[in-house]
Every structure is written in structure tokens, then in C-alpha cells.
């Protein structure tokens, strides 16, 4: 038994989600983009997972005190209820949050999966690494797959100097090589499960763009070429149908250019560790909460669950 009550561990787990959800987008701006992307996707999975676990524990601990469920589980309803740290109202709220999150995550996963599969199948049917669209306006993006493809318009190929063209293609290739599609899916599903992480998908996308820019700058050998290419591609007015899509925000292109005109970002080990430790705290707290709840059930079953499970 721990001296700290189980409610505190549950609260700590949920609070970590909020702290990470609020601070990570801001902190990630100052991290090297590659670390930022990894931290945002692993962190969001860890925090959303931990939050779901503790909400599930709250529901379980109250539900375990109900007679019909106790009969099925072969434990004493009275003894679980006597040790019950949460009141039924809290359990109902937790249950509703969990159900809503799971439903949302299911919908997001299904939608994202469908679109990613469509992209994968389109990429598979294309020969070579570059697909050229005959459009005159500048347009370049990456279509993920195994292997992924780069799509560029005649407009972008013709408008860019050879060095700028190299930068654009290297940028898109970096999205494919870094498997940014998988990072996108991870963060989107985590944010759907845990509303505290709502700002993370955008932060992750922003960090991915910076990651690809840094890779392009390495390939081009000059950061200013990438900045110039962004300006070149952004120069023309985009057609109306492209404005319907979710824009990254204009300030992001500006921010990318400013970042490219500065020196490459430093490591920032301290900030990375602080952010990573928030995720660890949440995961650790949810484990302790889980352990405490299991002990309540152990006591109510009259014999230790852990010993039974380990076969001893």
C-alpha cells in the first residue's frame, strides 16, 4: 500500500495530460524539429493512453462494488465498496469521458486510416518517385506509401531554379523518409482520445515542416535556398479549392523562413528531458493507480490476484 491515496495518482495522471497538452506545442517550437516530432507523438500516445487507463480504473473500481458485477468477477461487492475511493458520480463522469474519447478516437482512426490507405494505393500505382501534375500553379506535396511518392506541378518545376527545385524535392522526400504519415496518425488518434491534447496535431505538423526544411537545407547545402523556395512557391495565389483545405496558417510559412535564415537549431537537452518526464510521470502515476485498485480487488477476492496470475 502506498501512503499517497489513489485519487492523487489519478489526478496526477490527468493533470500531466493537461500540462503536456498546454506546454508541448510552445516548447516544441524551440526544440530541434526531429526531436519535437518524436516527442509530440510518443508523448501524446503515452499521455492519452495513461489518461484512458486511469479513467477506466475509476469506472472499474466503482462498478466492482455493484453486486451483479462482483458475482461475475467472484469478489465481494461489500469489500470493494468499503474500499471504494471514488463516488458514483465521479465514476459516471469518468465513464462518459472515456466513452466519448474512445468513440472519437475510433472515428478519427477510421477516417485517417481510410485516407492513408487511399494515399498508399495511389502511390503504389505510380512509377518512379516523382509524379508531375500538369497544373500551372506551384504545388508540391508528399503522398505516403511503400514507397511514397512526391507530387509536384509543372508550375513548381518551371518556377524554381535547379537549386530551389532540389530543395522542394528534398523537403518532400524528408516527409516520406521520416514516415511523417505515421506520426500524424499517432498524434491525431491520441488527441481524439484525450481532449487535453487538442493542440498537439497542429504543433506536430509544424515541427514536421521544420524537420523537412532542415533536411532540405542539408541536401541543398544552403539554408537560404530553402527559404527562397518557400517564397517562390508561396508567391502565387492558391486556387480556391485549395483554400478549402485546413491551412497550416500563414504565420507558419513565415516562421519557417525566419528559422531557415537563422542558424540550425541547438539541441536543448534540458527542455526535451522536462517534456519527456511529464509523459513518464503520467505513465508512472497511472501504473501506481492501477496497482492500488488491483489491491482493493485482491483484498475483496480473499486471495492475491497477482499471486494467482503468476501461477504461485
Amino acid at each position: 500500500m502506498t501512503a499517497v491515496p489513489v485519487e492523487a495518482w489519478v489526478a496526477l495522471t490527468l493533470a500531466s495530460s493537461v500540462v503536456f497538452g498546454v506546454s508541448a506545442p510552445a516548447v516544441s517550437r524551440f526544440l530541434p524539429p526531429r526531436s519535437a516530432v518524436w516527442l509530440l507523438s510518443t508523448g501524446s500516445l503515452l499521455l492519452a493512453g495513461s489518461a484512458a487507463v486511469v479513467l477506466g480504473l475509476v469506472v472499474l473500481s466503482v462498478a466492482g462494488g455493484l453486486a451483479p458485477i462482483a458475482t461475475v468477477g467472484h469478489w465481494s461487492a461489500q469489500r470493494v465498496a468499503a474500499n471504494e475511493p471514488f463516488d458514483p458520480a465521479t465514476a459516471v463522469v469518468a465513464g462518459l469521458l472515456l466513452a466519448a474519447g474512445t468513440l472519437r478516437a475510433g472515428v478519427v482512426s477510421w477516417g485517417t486510416l481510410r485516407r492513408v490507405l487511399a494515399a498508399w494505393s495511389a502511390a503504389r500505382g505510380c512509377p518512379g518517385p516523382l509524379v508531375v501534375l500538369p497544373d500551372p500553379e506551384p504545388l508540391a506535396f508528399a503522398v505516403p506509401g511503400w514507397p511514397g511518392r512526391i507530387v509536384a506541378s509543372r508550375g513548381v518545376l518551371d518556377a524554381c531554379s535547379p537549386e530551389e527545385r532540389l530543395a522542394v524535392l528534398a523537403h518532400e522526400q524528408a516527409h516520406l523518409d521520416g514516415r511523417h504519415d505515421l506520426h500524424l496518425v499517432a498524434v491525431a488518434v491520441a488527441a481524439a482520445l484525450d481532449p487535453a491534447l487538442v493542440a498537439l496535431p497542429r504543433a506536430s505538423r509544424r515541427a514536421m515542416e521544420r524537420w523537412a526544411d532542415e533536411r532540405a537545407a542539408k541536401d541543398a547545402g544552403d539554408r537560404r535556398i530553402v527559404a527562397a523556395a518557400i517564397g517562390r512557391v508561396a508567391g502565387a495565389d492558391p486556387p480556391a479549392w485549395r483554400l478549402l483545405t485546413i491551412p497550416l496558417g500563414a504565420t507558419d510559412a513565415e516562421w519557417r523562413v525566419r528559422a531557415l535564415l537563422r542558424h540550425p537549431p541547438p539541441r536543448r537537452i534540458a527542455a526535451t528531458l522536462v517534456l519527456a518526464s511529464v509523459g513518464m510521470v503520467a505513465a508512472g502515476a497511472s501504473l501506481v493507480a492501477g496497482h492500488d485498485i488491483v489491491q482493493v480487488f485482491e483484498a475483496a477476492m480473499g486471495h492475491p490476484v497477482a499471486a494467482t496470475l503468476s501461477g504461485r
Binding site: V131, L166, A227, A234
Partner: protein, 119 residues
Amino acid sequence: MTRRARGALEAEVMGVLWTAGEPLTPDQVRRRLPGELAYTTVMTILVRLVDKGAVSRRQQGRGYEYEPRLDQAGLAAERMRSMLEAEGDRAGVLSRFVEGLDASSAAALRRALRGRTGS
């Protein structure tokens, strides 16, 4: 010029062939690529692109000339376009190189670019 990713190099060679508007010899491709690439590197990439069906080659004098396979390219462009049109918000696609800008942010971007030293 630092070492480039292989995938990026293949895309660059395709980019050169597309912008040329005429069939190119391996040496012409090499000279149109930024940086100093070895002839054999360009040759290897061209052969790989022919194998993938993205590029066609034809005998020209003692060597070969290369150009994008327009039949395949048209089909590929069609596939991509129909995929994009099916996906309204295009979440399956990694974001474009630069997203749509409104007039004021485009101006801010140009200001940022003018601030850079050199050219």
C-alpha cells in the same frame, strides 16, 4: 553540397528530365543537377528509373537518351488527382510545401525573405 538521400536524388533526376522538355543524355542530366555528382551515380539512377517504368530511353549515337514516360506519367497524375478529389480534407496526404496564404501573410513572407543577406 552534402550527401543526398537516394530517394531525393531519384526525384531530382526526374525533375530535370521533366523540365528539360527534350530527351537528355546522362551527361546532360548530370550537368543540369546542382552540385557535383559522379557520372556513374547519374547512370545508376537513370537505369533504376527505366526499370521502374518511369523513364524511357532510346538509342542516340553511341549512347542513350532519356525522357519521362508520358503514358505512365499521365496515368499517375490521374490517380493522384482522383485520390485528392476523393479526400476532401486530404489528411492522407502530407501537407503541401507551402499552404495557401492570404495577401497579408504573403506580404509578411516576402518581407522576411527580403531580410536575408545575400541572395
